[in-house]
Symmetry: C2
Subunit: 196 residues, 2 copies
């Protein structure tokens, strides 16, 4: 691959990535003014990782967490966002969703030069599997940020999907606790008042 062909492939990926700014999530901005898109959500999560690094378990590499969070939603360009509370909390983990996301990862990371395609896909696979400390912390932040947006905007997707505190504990709290237990304790104490 010539240097010019390599740059062309890098920019083909970066131009395609621009489309993530048009993928809308169920969550709104903190002021409730409009739906959040997955591009700005990814920025906010990377900023969460930078700001809440002291909440990660010992040994977590925040730079790798940030990289995962920058990449984690790109598959939504093809698949769209699947809200965590939709379809009674079951849609997000369905086999159909996971297969569609895997095909999207093939296509989108496949735009890159082979070495970058391999590296980025490995980070995305690690995030999705949620088995390493880095991925677990990244997943925790991905669950915390919408809780804060809902609290700021007066309920958000909790109202849309008629969510109870028990459902929040199961769908959200358990996953946050796996990567950042102290963080969930604090966030839950804030969220509890909404459901009282």
């Amino acid at each position: 691959m010539s240097p010019d062909d390599r740059l062309a492939a890098q920019f083909a990926f970066l131009n395609e990535a621009d489309r993530l700014k048009s993928v809308l999530r169920a969550t709104t901005l903190c002021d409730g003014s409009r739906a959040e898109n997955s591009g700005e959500h990814s920025w906010h999560l990377a900023l969460y990782a930078l700001t809440l690094a002291d909440q990660a378990e010992p040994g977590v590499d925040i730079n790798r967490v940030i990289r995962m969070l920058l990449l984690h939603d790109l598959v939504e360009i093809d698949v769209g966002d699947v809200p965590i509370h939709s379809m009674g909390g079951t849609a997000h983990a369905s086999t159909a969703t996971q297969e569609a996301e895997s095909r999207a990862a093939d296509r989108i990371f496949g735009l890159l030069p082979p070495d970058l395609a391999r590296d980025f896909r490995a980070l995305w696979d690690e995030f999705e599997a949620a088995q390493t400390p880095d991925a677990r912390f990244a997943k925790s932040l991905d669950r915390v940020q919408p809780v804060m947006a809902n609290l700021q905007s007066g309920g958000g997707t909790w109202i849309t999907y008629n969510v109870t505190l028990d459902q929040l504990d199961t769908r959200v709290g358990e996953k946050i606790s796996r990567g950042a237990p102290r963080l969930w304790d604090w966030v839950r104490a804030q969220a509890r008042h909404f459901f009282a």
Copy 2:
């Protein structure tokens, strides 16, 4: 500062940062459908750094570049975006803009616990000064991304502000060349056709 007070300060900053998603830039999305906001722009730039790391000078720390890019536009929450080509290319570097951005940095980073406020402010100051290799590369990417958006969208801010190729060379090319000379050669070869 108690652990709870520390978390409250961290989230005060993260909730305030959400407002960057409502700051609109002169540049549009690649499909021209709407103005880009500074939150999603910051995500895209961090992805640029990750994808174009091989264009950085030896010794550049891409993780620090990514951190700078995640933080670099937060001052726009108070000041707004100042388009590079506005007011004949002079507004961006004016003393008034720089003083307003410095006051915004005091306020916004001041929401954080003192250690994080100091670290984030130091990264932002380094980016603004554009003297270190890390900051120069970050600045280069911040200039490249709107060029690609304009090319994709059929002219964008070059049409809005009636920009010539000479002006692009001066206002944009020289700054990209300082941090990523090979990158500007390739990008200019693409952009040249638009001005022909």
